[in-house]
């Protein structure tokens, strides 16, 4: 090994970090951990809010669907009643027509 290399080694030899370095690092990790806990809490709260909003919207949608189904059924009943009435009127109309147009057939 040359003198130059020895000088380089000497100039780059290990140096001790300032006093309390390890404690500073460990304190910062505790801060990170605390910050992370707070972040998780906020995340949990935000998730709960999103879940509640989602559930509310889901229930509202289900209610709306149920109301739609009910309205549809009512409409179908109305159509059935109307159809029956129309058929009844048609039958009466046919009977009158037979009497008026073809009286010889109905003495």
């Amino acid at each position: 090994m040359s003198q130059f290399e020895r000088d380089l080694r000497e100039s780059l030899r290990r140096r001790e970090p300032p006093a309390g370095f390890a404690e500073k690092v460990l304190a910062r990790t505790r801060e990170v951990r605390a910050h992370r806990t707070i972040s998780w809490r906020w995340l949990g709260a935000a998730a709960s809010v999103v879940l509640m909003i989602g559930a509310t919207l889901f229930i509202q949608e289900k209610q709306r669907q149920a109301e739609g189904e009910k309205a549809k059924e009512q409409l179908m009943v109305a159509f059935r009643i109307t159809g029956a009435k129309v058929r009844d009127i048609q039958a009466r109309f046919d009977a009158i027509q037979k009497r008026v147009v073809y009286p010889q057939l109905n003495p």
């Binding site: 130059f4 290399e5 380089l8 080694r9 000497e10 100039s11 780059l12 140096r15 970090p17 370095f21």
Partner: protein, 174 residues
């Protein structure tokens, strides 16, 4: 790595991490900042790092890469210009602290890759293959950086010493 092992690693390798950063920047404040940052990164990913040799290699690699990143992203790269370094006293003894200081500043003024190679070679006593693995570069490239870095420092030292020898002695009255 458990939390206890992390704490042990901080105490065990703080000197190594700090020394690499300090040799890189020749600035204790920046070195401390980098070293703390590296240990925080280890803390973030401590579950994937095994204690012992793996942790030491991880720390070395992370420290050097963090230093290189910092040099590239900031103005530290041009903080020390070789031309602005103070003159070396002629006939300085081999263990002269001024010469050591001068060498440290010269190393800190090298391009980041050459600087990293020199710090790992002479500071961490790693061989070319190990440095290649740490810096993820072929051994030939490491060798080339090593040669270039040492040659630059050697040339600068010689030139400064010659300039000092030729310079007339100045007195207060002149």
């Amino acid at each position: 790595m458990t939390k206890t092992e992390f704490e042990t690693a901080v105490r065990e390798y703080q000197g190594m991490v700090y020394s690499i950063a300090c040799s890189f920047f020749h600035n204790p404040a920046i070195a401390e900042e980098v070293a703390q940052d590296v240990f925080l990164r280890l803390y973030e990913g401590h579950r994937s790092v095994e204690a012992g040799a793996h942790c030491m290699a991880w720390l070395r690699r992370s420290t050097v890469h963090r230093c290189i990143d910092m040099v590239r992203r900031s103005s530290y790269q041009n903080e020390i210009q070789m031309e602005t370094l103070p003159d070396i006293p002629v006939g300085a003894p081999e263990t002269d602290p001024l010469l050591q200081e001068h060498l440290r500043r010269m190393i800190a003024a090298l391009p980041e890759k050459s600087r990293a190679v020199l710090v790992l070679r002479f500071g961490e006593d790693m061989d070319v293959e190990e440095i290649g693995r740490t810096l993820q570069m072929p051994a030939n490239t490491v060798w080339s950086h090593l040669q270039r870095g040492t040659a630059a420092i050697r040339e600068k030292l010689m030139r400064r010493m010659k300039e000092n020898e030729n310079e007339p002695v100045r007195t207060r009255s002149s």
